[in-house]
């Protein structure tokens, strides 16, 4: 199977610079401070935010007068992949994703405004089809916005890779990832064009790094526009009945 056929189309019929359909919803749970659901193609992710709140006993040692302590957990449901997972969390891949998630969110959460408190961000991947971590970052951003936690700005992530003939492709699916070469995941602050995280699944030749990075960043820009519209639509729904908090 070729990643790009002779018409230049991918295995699922997309063009190299075309992202999968993005659907999202904020405020899916009522028992949390913030929550969001993001679907990118077949990848489905839930993000939930608790806080800011008093630091819980288990984490008491991490209370800081400088700012809030951000506690993340990345977990994949046992049914999320075609091969059943025995362990949802605490395995190497999830632990690594948790650390990366923490790093990415720390770039935008204005923790200095919430000293001595704790913010929990929990991710549950319900269906995995490539770009799981990227979708998780996007869902986490939406959940943080839903919770009203002050952010410098959005943090959006996207994947990119190289197709047949060294053509950069954006938003890599599971099949493309398993067949193809290295996948690059980039997390970006779209309004200030800053990069918060870059992760590569394998080695990349230096010559190709720039075009693939550019493709990923374009993907982030597009994703940002979609998510920002969703936030505005959600705000209009929850704001009108109370006149947007104004007297």
């Amino acid at each position: 199977m070729e990643l790009l056929n002779d018409q230049g189309l991918r295995l699922d019929g997309r063009k190299p610079d075309e992202l999968r359909l993005i659907k999202c919803k904020l405020g899916i749970f009522t028992h949390t401070d913030g929550s969001a659901f993001v679907e990118q193609g077949n990848t489905k992710v839930i993000a939930v935010v608790y806080g800011p709140h008093e630091v819980r006993n288990v984490h008491r040692a991490k209370t800081s007068a400088d700012g809030a302590f951000v506690n993340c957990q990345y977990s994949m449901a046992a049914f999320s992949m075609s091969e059943r997972k025995k362990r949802n969390r605490g395995d190497r891949k999830s632990t690594e994703a948790t650390i990366h998630l923490h790093q990415t969110l720390a770039a935008v959460i204005r923790t200095e405004l919430m000293p001595k408190s704790q913010i929990d961000v929990f991710i549950e991947v319900l269906q995995s089809d490539g770009g799981n971590f990227a979708a998780s970052v996007n869902a986490a951003t939406l959940a943080l916005i839903d919770a009203g936690i002050p952010l410098r700005e959005y943090v959006i992530a996207c994947t990119a890779s190289l197709g047949t003939g060294n053509v950069p492709m954006v938003d890599i699916s599971n099949l493309e990832e398993s067949l193809g070469g290295p996948t690059l995941t980039v997390a970006v602050l779209p309004r200030s064009s800053q990069i918060a995280l870059v992760e590569m699944s394998q080695r990349f030749h230096l010559d190709f790094l720039e075009p693939v990075l550019k493709m990923a960043m374009k993907g982030c820009d597009y994703t940002f526009k979609v998510l920002d519209m969703a936030v505005e639509s959600y705000l209009s729904e929850i704001g009108k009945p109370n006149n947007w908090g104004q007297a």
């Binding site: 405020g27 009522t30 401070d33 913030g34 806080g51 800011p52 709140h53 008093e54 007068a65 935008v108 204005r110 919430m114 000293p115 001595k116 408190s117 916005i145 839903d146 919770a147 009203g148 936690i149 002050p150 952010l151 410098r152 700005e153 959005y154 602050l189 779209p190 309004r191 200030s192 920002d228 936030v231 505005e232 639509s233 705000l235 209009s236 729904e237 929850i238 704001g239 009108k240 009945p241 109370n242 947007w244 908090g245 104004q246 007297a247």
Partner: protein
């Protein structure tokens, strides 16, 4: 205990209704909106403007840090997030739950970023003995308020990192007795002159922090909402229970549809809810009808 009574069992028919996702009813609809700002969005140049909550300064520009509507108060600009934890202000009336007993103070969960404190010296206790420095402090304190107890109190002070200090130095505040606690997002509560209400036969304390306490109206004026005695013998009458359940349903319906929760909206919602039997109140279509008729009665329409 009587023996197996078959007629008894036959009487109790279980009521369970399974709905499909396609029958879902939403209490929210997209509407027109004023200009909305989202995190990172540029608001304007720094000069001549005072930045308030929900904004930050970056390279000479003011940017939004939460999603919401921009508010101007003279030169002060701020953005209020539609959902957030409670930000206490001095003088607010709150309802809270004791989480911990510490040296000469209790820690209280009041739906805020940090637990509030209730100092032993901020509490009216019978007799002055407790003011003495005594080793038995914690035991004595536990007699009055222990973990899990609910209180109504006023915000006396707010410390720099955001911790509130509460006081119950007024007869109307103190430990809460039998009743139901309902939680709504704090931004849906209006600050008003009074937070103690009696609506349609039952009493409410609408905490500015989003914790609302529903309780049967005390029979005699001597039993205030305050005091520290435990009242486990009282048996609330069915009529009052129904009213409390109905009011709880109204509060939840208003909160789910993001309407402000205060005495006027609750009175209107309760009136609408009266036409339903108390067992129907959880049905989504009943909630929708309560919300729509209440909005209509109050002249709010999308």
């Amino acid at each position: 205990m009587a023996g197996l009574d078959r007629e008894d069992i036959g009487d109790k028919s279980v009521s369970a209704s399974f709905r499909l996702a396609s029958d879902r009813i939403s209490l929210l609809t997209p509407c027109e909106h004023p200009e909305l700002y989202t995190p990172g969005q540029d608001i304007g140049p720094e000069t001549g403007l005072l930045r308030g909550h929900g904004t930050y300064q970056d390279n000479g520009r003011i940017k939004a840090s939460v999603a919401g509507v921009l508010e101007h108060v003279n030169k002060l600009i701020m953005i209020r997030p539609l959902k957030s934890r409670y930000n206490g202000e001095i003088g607010d009336v709150v309802v809270g739950r004791i989480t911990e007993i510490q040296q000469k103070r209790w820690r209280v969960d009041a739906n805020a970023r940090l637990d509030a404190v209730l100092l032993l010296s901020s509490v009216n206790l019978p007799g002055g003995e407790l003011r003495r420095r005594s080793v038995e402090d914690e035991r004595m304190m536990r007699q009055y308020l222990s973990e899990g107890d609910l209180i109504s109190a006023e915000v006396q002070n707010v410390f720099s990192e955001g911790t509130m200090s509460l006081h119950t130095r007024n007869l109307k505040y103190g430990k809460l007795s039998q009743g139901v606690l309902v939680t709504v997002p704090a931004p849906l509560i209006k600050r008003s002159k009074t937070h103690f209400h009696t609506i349609c036969g039952i009493s409410l304390i609408i905490g500015t922090n989003g914790y609302i306490w529903l309780y049967p109206t005390p029979k005699s004026t001597e039993e205030g909402a305050g005091g520290f005695a435990r009242n486990l013998e009282l048996r609330v009458e069915p009529r009052e229970r129904e009213a409390i359940a109905r009011m709880q349903c109204c509060i939840n319906a208003l909160a789910e549809s993001r309407m402000m929760v205060y005495d006027t909206s609750l009175v209107a919602a309760f009136e609408v809810a009266n036409k339903f039997s108390v067992k129907e109140l959880l049905k989504p279509e009943v909630k929708l009808e309560i919300v729509m008729l209440t909005q209509h009665m109050m002249g709010l329409n999308c």
